[in-house]
């Protein structure tokens, strides 16, 4: 294959506990650490490994988000992507709009493979890759835990509810990544410096003729139901007694 397209999203860092705003309008991101979505990072890593193994020539990363999303793109370039595209917007488009924008990018860049993270750890939608595949009428392999090149096809192991499923896909195709696909590399300073010279183009959603109007109105965002504090027991025997009394044993 020639070109791999990797969409990446900037999200609240996965190790930060989210704070819900008291006015119920959303999660407070002010001053919080923002990072590349872990599944997107895995997607970038997989693309870079495919290129290093000689299966691809050109990796394009794209992010749809605010100005700061460029940090995420720079990190992807440092990991080994070749070019970056920033579709700049402060609107947080929904997966449907993201998929439509990505379809326009696919029509421009003509990749053989699009690899995305299976879900963003902020909205947990798990839709964008599948929607893109549908809009393009391409085959898909979601929740990938291994990807290997098999002639002009890809062999993908998927993590499913009952265990593992292996599919063979022709190109072009869409793959979404699961946790165990790879462990992304840390970027050494020389690569971070080199990445500054790699091309990064900035556009906006209106350049693609895509309507990003939201279909869903968020009526409220609230903390989940809390749990009452529990007790410490001092022995297994005490525990069994308590659980029997609680009626679960």
């Amino acid at each position: 294959m020639k070109t791999i397209l990797v969409p990446v999203k900037m999200v609240l860092d996965a190790n930060v506990r989210p704070r819900v705003r008291a006015d119920e309008t959303g999660v407070d991101l002010t001053g919080m650490r923002l990072s590349i979505n872990p599944f997107c990072e895995i997607a970038v890593e997989e693309a870079v490994r495919l290129k290093e193994a000689g299966h691809a020539e050109d990796i394009v990363v794209v992010s749809i988000g605010p100005a700061k999303a460029q940090d995420t793109l720079r990190q992807a370039l440092a990991m080994g992507a070749d070019r970056a595209l920033h579709i700049q917007t402060d609107d947080s488009p929904e997966p449907l709009a993201i998929a439509k924008l990505l379809r326009a990018v696919v029509e421009q860049e003509k990749p053989d493979l699009v690899i995305l993270g299976k879900q963003a750890v902020d909205d947990d939608c798990n839709q964008t890759g599948q929607m893109l595949a549908s809009l393009l009428d391409w085959p898909q392999a979601t929740f990938a835990s291994t990807v290997s090149v098999d002639g002009d096809r890809l062999r993908v192991t998927r993590e499913i509810d009952a265990g593992l499923q292996i599919l063979s896909l022709p190109l072009p195709a869409v793959i979404t990544t699961d946790l165990r696909l790879n462990e992304p590399r840390h970027c050494a300073l020389p690569n971070i410096m080199k990445a500054r010279k790699k091309p990064l183009t900035v556009t906006s959603p209106s350049d693609y003729g895509v309507d990003t109007t939201r279909r869903l109105t968020i009526l409220s965002v609230r903390p989940p139901a809390g749990r009452k504090a529990g007790i410490r027991v001092s022995s297994a025997a005490e525990l069994v007694g308590d659980l029997r009394q609680a009626g679960v044993l």
Binding site: D124, S134, G241
Partner: protein, 311 residues
């Protein structure tokens, strides 16, 4: 108003997820049609027809559907989607894989992992690994949802079996090809629906110790076995046992966490359990903050003592 629900099954047995998603589908209002897509699925269709709240069972039977692949299943649903204003699937691996293809083709947004139906167009769902709950209202005329099955109780058996109708499956050459499946066979209750779950973390130390420590206890309690991401990554347990934000989300009556520290992403998968027990050597492990009963100590000593106390 009619709702189409995609049944979840393994070609032989209807899964518990279907009965739970049916409860959600029924709450969207109107008649519910249950679509069973697969190959040689007569028995599954008959089981589906017995559930309470099903208006009609639609059977799409074709070799192309034998493994639940997204392209043919989505295309089958789309062929018949015109009649429905709501399309629902349980948020199983298949539901998650298939449904967004349908939403995109219908040019509507999908609402994933719904935990409560507030109104036919208004839904609650978890975000940020369940650290927040958002209520969303859709303006789309066709609603496409996946349902978090642990948030709904299963629909029971009805009085009269529903009518079973055969529906067509698009005939075309599909691109993705099924090669192989590696499934863990077990006599244990299904992790997603078990009343008791015993989960192990990386502290178990090896696949053998994981199996030997959790196995007999799970057997004794007729429990399902789960695992933290760390335990699966380390190879102590297969991927289908992973409980967490991006693994299985469970809400059993009793969840016993053995040697699990309680990362945000793990809690996302089990914090709605009725009773949570944590056993860990580290008294500062975050899991103790959400446990109803916490026991600090060496799990390899405590588990045998626990079994002894069970009698």
């Amino acid at each position: 108003m009619t709702t189409l629900l995609l049944a979840d099954h393994d070609q032989h047995t209807l899964s518990d997820a279907t009965a739970r998603a049916l409860t959600a589908a029924s709450a969207t209002g109107g008649t519910v049609h249950l679509l069973v897509a697969g190959h040689n699925i007569g028995a599954v269709a008959e089981a589906a027809a017995k559930l309470s709240g099903v208006g009609t069972v639609l059977v799409a039977d074709d070799p192309a559907l034998a493994h639940g692949l997204a392209e043919p299943v989505a295309a089958t649903i789309l062929e018949h989607a015109g009649d429905y204003d709501t399309i629902v699937a349980p948020a199983t691996a298949t539901g998650k894989d298939v449904l967004p293809r349908i939403a995109a083709r219908l040019d509507v947004m999908q609402i994933s992992d719904v935990t409560r139906i507030v109104a036919p167009d208004t839904f609650e769902r978890p975000i940020y690994a369940g650290n927040a709950v958002e209520t969303v209202k859709t303006s789309d005329k066709i609603r496409v949802l996946t349902v978090r099955t642990s948030a709904f109780s299963p629909a029971e058996a009805g009085d009269t079996p529903a009518e079973i109708k055969t529906v067509t499956v698009p005939q075309t050459s599909w691109r993705a090809r099924f090669e192989e499946e590696i499934v863990t066979k077990s006599d244990r209750p299904d992790l997603s629906s078990a009343k008791i779950v015993i989960s192990g973390g990386r502290a178990l130390g090896s696949a053998d110790r994981f199996r030997d420590t959790l196995g007999p206890l799970a057997e004794r309690l007729n429990a399902a076995i789960g695992a933290s991401r760390a335990a699966v990554d380390a190879g102590y347990a297969p991927n289908d046992l992973q409980v967490g934000q991006t693994g299985k989300v469970v809400a059993p009556d009793l969840y016993i966490a053995l040697g699990i520290s309680g990362a945000i992403q793990h809690l996302a998968g089990m914090k709605d359990s009725k009773i949570i027990v944590a056993i860990n050597k580290d008294e500062d492990a975050p899991i103790f903050q959400i446990a109803d009963y916490g026991l600090v100590g060496d799990l390899f000593q405590i588990v045998p003592e626990f079994e002894k106390a069970l009698g």
